[in-house]
Point group: C2
Chain length 215, copies 2
């Protein structure tokens, strides 16, 4: 169970807090709006009314001890400060929301490990589904079906895909393989492919069938 800190309870931040809490994660939240904090409070571990651009506040509230922080504030002047302070508090992983590409660049330079533009991401996905209607986004179509990125179990090494017969024996399919020292993913590898120790396997299957490989 990981500890998430969410700063900013606008629509994106609130939905994120809610979803993480529903999935059993420990979620602490900050927002300067009482209303926003009040609404999320019953659903999360902790929600506090505060100004996140005060570094001492972040420290007081334990933001130096969380695993992942998400800065869900659109206004760049604010999100840049908060991101800077989280970086200085040595937060292991910082995700920041941006309104546009320029903001995204700036937040990355300040120290965000990952930047998200929610409206852009969903607009791009929608555009793709409108222009290529029978090309589907994997996850909505097959809700518990995923791809897992895993190293092979020891007893797979040195065997061919055909020998391992993963589809029948494990109900997963190797959809791609990335060899060590390559950043190219070989898609739909042939049945006679021999698995090597440092290969990164991309397995497709039902969540429960992938679990033995990902734990």
């Amino acid at each position: 169970k990981k500890r998430f800190g969410i700063i900013g309870l606008g629509r994106f931040g609130s939905y994120l807090a809610r979803t993480l809490a529903e999935q059993g994660q420990e979620v602490i939240c900050i927002d300067r709006s009482e209303k926003a904090v009040e609404e999320i409070s019953p659903l999360v571990a902790q929600a506090v009314v505060a100004d996140a651009t005060k570094k001492e506040t972040l420290e007081h509230l334990g933001f130096h001890r969380i695993d992942t922080a998400i800065v869900a504030i659109g206004a760049l002047a604010q999100s840049v400060l908060v991101t800077l302070f989280l970086k200085e508090l040595e937060t292991p992983y910082i995700i920041a929301k941006a309104l546009n590409e320029e903001g995204a660049k700036i937040l990355s330079l300040i120290g965000a490990d990952r930047v998200i533009i929610p409206e852009k991401d969903s607009a791009v996905r929608l555009a793709r589904s409108l222009v290529m209607p029978n090309l589907l986004d994997f996850l909505p179509l097959l809700p518990d079906f995923y791809i897992a990125e895993v190293y092979p179990p020891a007893d797979f090494v040195g065997k061919t895909l055909k020998e391992l017969d993963l589809r029948k024996r494990y109900r997963v399919y190797v959809i791609g393989i990335k060899r060590a020292f390559s950043d190219k993913i070989q898609l739909l590898p042939p049945a006679d492919y021999v698995i090597e120790k440092d290969d990164l396997l991309y397995l497709v299957g039902h969540k429960k069938d992938l679990a033995p490989f990902t734990s």
Copy 2:
């Protein structure tokens, strides 16, 4: 090439207009803000400053002749009116943006064929990638790799997957099959599965390899 009408050039509407236009689609836009219209104008077929809650305006601007309309206005009072008018103008397909579940329900009842909550969708995706980090979202991982939902070509009917040898001969893989009159998708079907005429095949592969099946 399809004709898209976008009403509301906030962040979501603007990114959508931009992306569709970049993909060679014909895009017409309405917004009551001059600034928003000015910014998108060089990139799309047509962009007009107007109040979309006037039904005659929508008709004048040709919204009764577009293929798909996207109402990208957050404010429910506005989006409900626009959706109603588009329905009355017999727009074939209406997508509406909502801020929350209640708005989404209302817009569906008014006549939206599909409702999107952009901030929620991206929050849910982010939450999933944070909680299950080696379970991946298909599309960002393998950018030109998709799933296509297609009926089988005539010469596939009556043959087994093994016989057809799709991976080797066509560079695609049948990841799932939905039989006629069933809404259950059989995932990772066995090699001896015999394809039937009304089966819906879910093929995974590179965009260029899927093209012959989807055109």
